[in-house]
Subunit: 332 residues, 2 copies
DNA sequence: CACCCGGGTGCAAACGTTTGCATGAACATC
DNA sequence: GATGTTCATGCAAACGTTTGCACCCGGGTG
């Protein structure tokens, strides 16, 4: 049915092994034979069968990219960049979504393991132990997660968080709430840690709230708890949560940034467009997607551990932060 | 290295063919043998090698999903739904991005063809002829594109567009601009056609503008042309364009919806959050992703052509539309 | 001239499955 | 008790590549 290497061999009058070499080890075959083979292949519309090749070489030329939620606007640009970079090197990529569930994630990785040469694990919710264990079956690169023994691409969200706290303190805030994210999230821990350290340094009080789901609803429902506390500013786990919080605060009759300053994390396109526009920590997602694939491919092809790469983040100031209103602290 | 069917056979004291059948044709093997085999497989951590299986069965258990731009917020929910549905049926999915370029799209499909059992082509920019031709190599289902001879999932954007025009006319608008999208886009043509027909029916004038790139920048730069015309309302190709247009109009000193009403298409999350919130045509992306995979799998497994499915769209009215200001038509 | 070297090619085994066919056992039928 | 039927299993060929090895041939070296 489909045209195989054998057809090309017959058509060009050489042995299949020569055709094979013409495609995968060009230097081993005489230049004129090669062009003859290529011409025949072209004429017949031959394309190497990657499954067969995989069977023989133990290389699939496929990669996996595993994220928590494709529809979360944080991920698509990262996926896009990763996919583009992989394609550049002639790899195809499976994209899968774990629905934020560790069990699903684990099963997914297992089912993918034999089928890919490596996988990019973005914001994994798995325990370090499990990741390390799975990492014996498939080469991994983890993004936004620190796992010892594995190559990591980290976005230095702590730095952006410190900038955010600096910014809020400079505006005059002394009580800052932080909406904590999923406890399994490295990013969430980093934000929390950096916020605490930074607040302490400034002599400001930090009020942890949550954890809530990392969604708009999660932010919305956190509004009541924030409003009942002394905080005049809040640091949200991500833009979606920040937005939900803003809507929740408005529903409670508070205005942002008048009564409450809000800063998000991720700098998704939503942050630029929502009302009010969102002060947020910009994350280098494109660089992470591309870099993650680079590391992964380096690891896969050379076997070396490429180590850890850290990328900068920075605060983008927009409309959702302002000085606290004079009477704000006295509220309640 | 990896554990194969042979290891399982040895471990459980049966022939490899029995192990194979235990996995892929359970009813052909005695129940007790089967459990013994399964136990051995479990003990050894055996997973069937899909590449080998593919070689032998001519089925890869992989599907492709091809979209114009992963980062365009229209696509991620569709991809997510498609991926989830595929996974449910034990298929893995390759996701690829064509960067809105027909050449890339074609090459992508060719390189994927041998490797998947079928592909979902979303909002393809290819000519019908080329699609039909490629469709001889791989089973396709096309989304938002009508190609004769191929199963299609169509979002009835014409209906939503008519609702939009009805809505604008009801508000009092008589001059409506339409920002046309990429000429290769079926959706763009549908919108244009439905708008014309609907405007004519109401005796309103329709003013085509563009085509501009289907991006925020595209909308932004279209603002000048719209402002210099008589239109008091505009129908944009998608939410991103609508948003860009709003920003462009604001930059020209016009207020939305005061001086200009704007309606988008897609109902992406941006529409809910931008300022002003966007009146837009809601697209059934999740249903399309899931349904597309259903059709594709039906086609792949049975060989039948499952025909065409049409999904409803509906207008969601928000803040970006209002009656025209009295003097608006006299502007210029 | 004998020798070796190396580039170019063919040969065949391997990769891990599936599957049509053959075999054999158990059992029912007349 | 011979014959047929069914069920479970083994056997081996196939799927489309890659790759170590053997071979041939032309040309350089001593």
């Amino acid at each position: 049915m489909a045209v195989t290497i054998r057809d090309v061999a017959r058509e060009s009058g050489v042995h299949v092994s020569t055709v094979s070499r013409a495609f995968s080890a060009a230097h081993m075959v005489n230049a004129v034979t090669r062009t003859r083979v290529m011409a025949a292949a072209e004429r017949l519309g031959y394309r190497p069968n990657r499954a067969a090749r995989a069977l023989s070489t133990q290389r699939t030329a496929n990669l996996g990219v595993i994220v928590a939620d494709i529809a979360n606007p944080f991920f698509p640009p990262l996926i896009k960049a990763a996919q583009a970079q992989a394609r550049e090197r002639d790899y195809h990529v499976f994209v899968a979504d774990t629905d934020e569930r560790a069990r699903v994630e684990e099963e997914l990785i297992r089912s993918m393991a034999k089928q890919v040469d490596g996988a990019l694990l973005v914001a994994s919710r798995l325990s370090g132990r499990v990741i390390a264990e799975l990492g014996r079956d498939v080469p991994f690169v983890v993004v936004n997660r620190r796992v010892k023994g594995l190559p990591c691409v980290l976005m230095d969200v702590a730095s952006g968080t410190r900038q955010a706290v600096d910014h809020l303190v400079a505006l005059g805030h002394r009580d800052i709430a932080v909406l904590t994210g999923p406890s399994a999230s490295w990013t969430a821990q980093e934000i929390r840690g950096a916020a605490e350290e930074s607040a302490a340094r400034h002599g400001a009080a930090l009020h942890p709230v949550g954890p809530n789901p990392p969604t708009e609803e999660g932010g919305f429902s956190a509004a009541a708890e924030v409003a009942s506390g002394p905080a005049t500013a809040v640091l949200a786990y991500n833009d979606l949560v920040a937005l939900g919080l803003i809507r929740g605060a408005e529903a409670l009759g508070l205005s942002v940034p008048g009564d409450l300053s809000v800063v998000g994390v991720d700098n998704t396109h939503i942050a630029r467009h929502c009302r009010p526009t969102l002060t947020t920590v910009d994350m280098p997602v494109v660089a992470a997607g591309r870099g993650g694939i680079d590391l992964l491919l380096h690891r896969v092809t050379t076997g070396e551990d490429p180590g850890t790469v850290t990328l900068d983040t920075r605060l983008v100031v927009r409309e959702s932060t302002a000085p606290p209103s004079s009477g704000a602290s006295a509220r309640t």
